[in-house]
C-alpha cells in the first residue's frame, strides 16, 4: 500500500513537472517562432510585409526538444555517474543543453532571415540580443522540468530505459504535444489578429501577419506575452495529462488481471476523452455555425 501511494505521489509530481514543461515549451517555441506557423513569418517579407519577428525553425519542435532533453538528461546522467548530487547534475545538464539551444536559435535566426535579404528583410541585432536570451530562459525551464520528470521515472518508478533515452523519448513527445496544441493559437490568434474571431484564415491572407503591437512594432517578446495566456497553458495541460495518466494507469492498475488492468484502464480513459471531444465538437457547431445556409444532401467533396 505504501509503495502504491508513493508511486501515485511520484506520478502527481511528474505530471506537475510535465505541465510546467509543456507550458514553457510552447511559449519558447512561440517566442522563437519555431512551430508550424513559422512558414507565415518566413513568407511575410516575400509578400511585402517586413517584420521584427524571430524565426528559428530549421527543424520542428519534436526533434529539437528530443535533442535538447536527451542532451540535458545525458549530461545529468554522466555527472551523476561521477557522484554529483542529482539536483545539481540536472541543473548543470539542462544549462549546458540550453547553450546548445541558444547557438541553434542564433544561427537559425541569422540564416533564415539572411535568406530573405532580397526581399528587403533586415537582420535586427537588438532582436538577437533580447529574444535569444528569453527563448533560452523558457527552454531551460522546459528542459529542466522534463529531465527532472525523466529522473523520477528512472529512479523512483524504476523504468528500464536509461535516463538519456528517456530524455529523447519524452523530449520528442513534449515537442509533439506542445506543437500540436499551442501552435494554432499562435498561428491564427496571434499572427492574424486583423482577421475576425470565429473563423479560419482565408488562404489569400497568407503572409499578411500583424506586425504592430499596442506601442510600436511588435517583436517576438510580445508573442510570448500573448500565447502564455492560452496556448502555453493548454500545451502544459496536454503534456501533463499525458504523463500523469500514463503513469497513473500503470501504477494503479497494473496489479489487476496480470497487467491487463492497466490496458483496460487506458481503454476506458480513451473512451472518456472521445466522449468529451464529441461534446466539445457539438458545442462548437451549435455555438458558431452554420456560416452559410446548409445545402440539402449533395455537397461536393
Amino acid at each position: 500500500m505504501e509503495e502504491l501511494l508513493f508511486g501515485i505521489g511520484i506520478s502527481a509530481v511528474a505530471g506537475a513537472l510535465a505541465t510546467v514543461s509543456g507550458a514553457a515549451e510552447d511559449t519558447e517555441s512561440d517566442i522563437g517562432s519555431q512551430g508550424d506557423p513559422n512558414s507565415q513569418v518566413q513568407l511575410a517579407p516575400q509578400m511585402g510585409y517586413i517584420h521584427r519577428i524571430y524565426s528559428k525553425a530549421i527543424s520542428g519542435e519534436p526533434p529539437a526538444y528530443g535533442l535538447w532533453c536527451a542532451l540535458g538528461a545525458g549530461l545529468a546522467w554522466a555527472l551523476m555517474a561521477i557522484n554529483y548530487n542529482p539536483v545539481l547534475a540536472i541543473v548543470l545538464g539542462s544549462a549546458i543543453a540550453v547553450f546548445v539551444q541558444g547557438i541553434y536559435a542564433t544561427t537559425a535566426y541569422l540564416g533564415r532571415t539572411a535568406s530573405l535579404a532580397k526581399f528587403g528583410q533586415p537582420v535586427y541585432i537588438d532582436l538577437i540580443k533580447s529574444v535569444t536570451t528569453v527563448t533560452m530562459a523558457h527552454a531551460f525551464i522546459a528542459i529542466f522540468t522534463c529531465v527532472s520528470m525523466c529522473f523520477l521515472m528512472v529512479n523512483a518508478l524504476r523504468h528500464p530505459f536509461p535516463l538519456p533515452l528517456l530524455g529523447l523519448v519524452w523530449g520528442i513527445a513534449l515537442g509533439a504535444a506542445g506543437s500540436a496544441t499551442g501552435n494554432p493559437f499562435y498561428g491564427k490568434e496571434r499572427q492574424y489578429q486583423s482577421q475576425k474571431f470565429g473563423a479560419g484564415v482565408p488562404i489569400s491572407a497568407s503572409g499578411n501577419i500583424v506586425r504592430y503591437a499596442e506601442a510600436g512594432q511588435r517583436s517576438s517578446l510580445d508573442n510570448g506575452w500573448f500565447t502564455s495566456k492560452m496556448g502555453g497553458p493548454a500545451s502544459g495541460v496536454c503534456f501533463g495529462l499525458i504523463v500523469f495518466l500514463e503513469l497513473w494507469r500503470t501504477i494503479f492498475f497494473e496489479g489487476f488481471a496480470a497487467g491487463w488492468g492497466a490496458v483496460i484502464a487506458g481503454i476506458v480513459l480513451i473512451l472518456i476523452f472521445m466522449i468529451i471531444d464529441r461534446m466539445v465538437e457539438k458545442w462548437a457547431r451549435r455555438t458558431y455555425g452554420p456560416y452559410t445556409e446548409e445545402k440539402k444532401e449533395e455537397v461536393s467533396s
Binding site: 500540436a180 501552435n183 498561428g187 495518466l245 456560416y291
Partner: protein
C-alpha cells in the same frame, strides 16, 4: 510543410520495377539472417518488419494539417506527420518497455494503448484550443459528411479555407494511428531485446544481470531509430497534410507499407547482426 491543396495526386500507383527491386532487397536481408543466425534472430527480424509496417500504416491514420492547420486553413493537427506519429509511438514504447516483464501480450497491448492515449489527449486539447480559444468549429475539406457521426461540413467551413478543426473521424483516426504506432514500436523493442538478452552475455562474457541495462538501452535506441525511419517514409508518402482515414491520400498506404517493410528489413538486419 505547406502542401496545401495538394489533393490526392502525386502518383498513387507503384512502379513495378521499384517494387521488385525493393522486394529483392527484402528477401536478401531475410536470407542473410536466416543463413547466418536461424531461429531467434530470424524470427526477430520478421517481428521488426511487422512492427515497421504497423508504424508506416499507422502514420496514415494520424490527422496532420501542418502550417495551414495552425491558421485554421485546413483540418488536422498543426504539426508535421512524422513528429506527431513519433511522439505518440514513443509514448507507447515507454509504456510497452515498462510492461515488458509482464509478458509479451501485456507489453504489446500496453504500448498500443499508451500511444492511443497520448493521441486521445492531444486530439482533445487540439479541439479545445480550436473551439474555445479560436472559435472554430470542425469542418473537413475532403468529404461532405463525417463518416462516423454523419455531421455535414460545407456550412461550417469558413470562406477561403479548406476546412479547419478536427472532425470526429480525424480524432478516431488519430487514436488508431497512435495505437498502431505504439504497437509497432513496442514489437520492435521486444523482439530486439529478446535477441540481445540471448546473445550479449555470451558475446561479452558477462552475466545476464550485467548485460540487461546494455540490452535495454540498445533495443530502445534501435526501436526509436526504426520508429523514425518508418514514420519519415510514411510522411513522404503522404506529402504534407492528411485528414485521417477518410482522406483520399489514405489510399496511398500500400506503397508506404512496402517501403517500410524494406527499410525495416535492412535496418533490422543491421540491428540483429550487431550481436550475431
Amino acid at each position: 510543410m505547406t502542401a496545401l491543396g495538394s489533393g490526392s495526386g502525386g502518383g498513387q500507383g507503384m512502379k513495378p520495377v521499384a517494387v521488385v527491386v525493393g522486394l529483392v532487397i527484402l528477401v536478401v536481408a531475410l536470407a542473410a539472417v536466416y543463413f547466418l543466425a536461424p531461429g531467434m534472430a530470424f524470427m526477430a527480424l520478421i517481428g521488426v518488419i511487422i512492427g515497421g509496417v504497423l508504424i508506416g500504416f499507422g502514420v496514415h491514420f494520424v490527422p496532420v494539417g501542418g502550417a495551414p492547420a495552425a491558421m485554421g486553413q485546413s483540418p488536422g493537427i498543426a504539426t508535421g506527420v512524422t513528429m506527431l506519429a513519433a511522439g505518440a509511438g514513443l509514448a507507447g514504447l515507454f509504456g510497452g518497455a515498462w510492461a515488458a516483464e509482464l509478458g509479451f501480450g501485456v507489453a504489446l497491448a500496453g504500448g498500443a494503448i499508451g500511444g492511443a492515449l497520448m493521441m486521445a489527449i492531444t486530439c482533445l486539447m487540439v479541439n479545445v484550443v480550436y473551439v474555445y480559444a479560436m472559435g472554430i468549429p470542425a469542418a473537413s475539406g475532403k468529404v461532405a459528411k463525417d463518416p462516423i457521426t454523419g455531421d455535414t461540413f460545407e456550412a461550417y467551413k469558413s470562406q477561403g479555407t479548406e476546412g479547419h478543426g478536427l472532425p470526429f473521424v480525424s480524432y478516431v483516426g488519430g487514436v488508431i494511428g497512435g495505437l498502431l504506432g505504439g504497437l509497432g514500436g513496442t514489437l520492435i523493442y521486444l523482439e530486439l531485446l529478446g535477441v540481445y538478452e540471448a546473445s550479449l552475455p555470451q558475446l561479452m562474457g558477462g552475466s545476464i544481470d550485467q548485460i540487461v541495462p546494455l540490452a535495454v538501452g540498445l533495443a530502445g535506441i534501435f526501436a526509436v531509430g526504426l520508429f523514425l525511419v518508418n514514420a519519415v517514409i510514411a510522411a513522404y508518402n503522404i506529402t504534407g497534410t492528411i485528414e485521417g482515414p477518410h482522406d483520399p491520400k489514405f489510399k496511398r498506404f500500400p506503397r508506404a507499407v512496402i517501403g517500410c517493410a524494406i527499410a525495416s528489413a535492412v535496418c533490422g538486419l543491421l540491428a540483429v547482426m550487431l550481436v550475431v
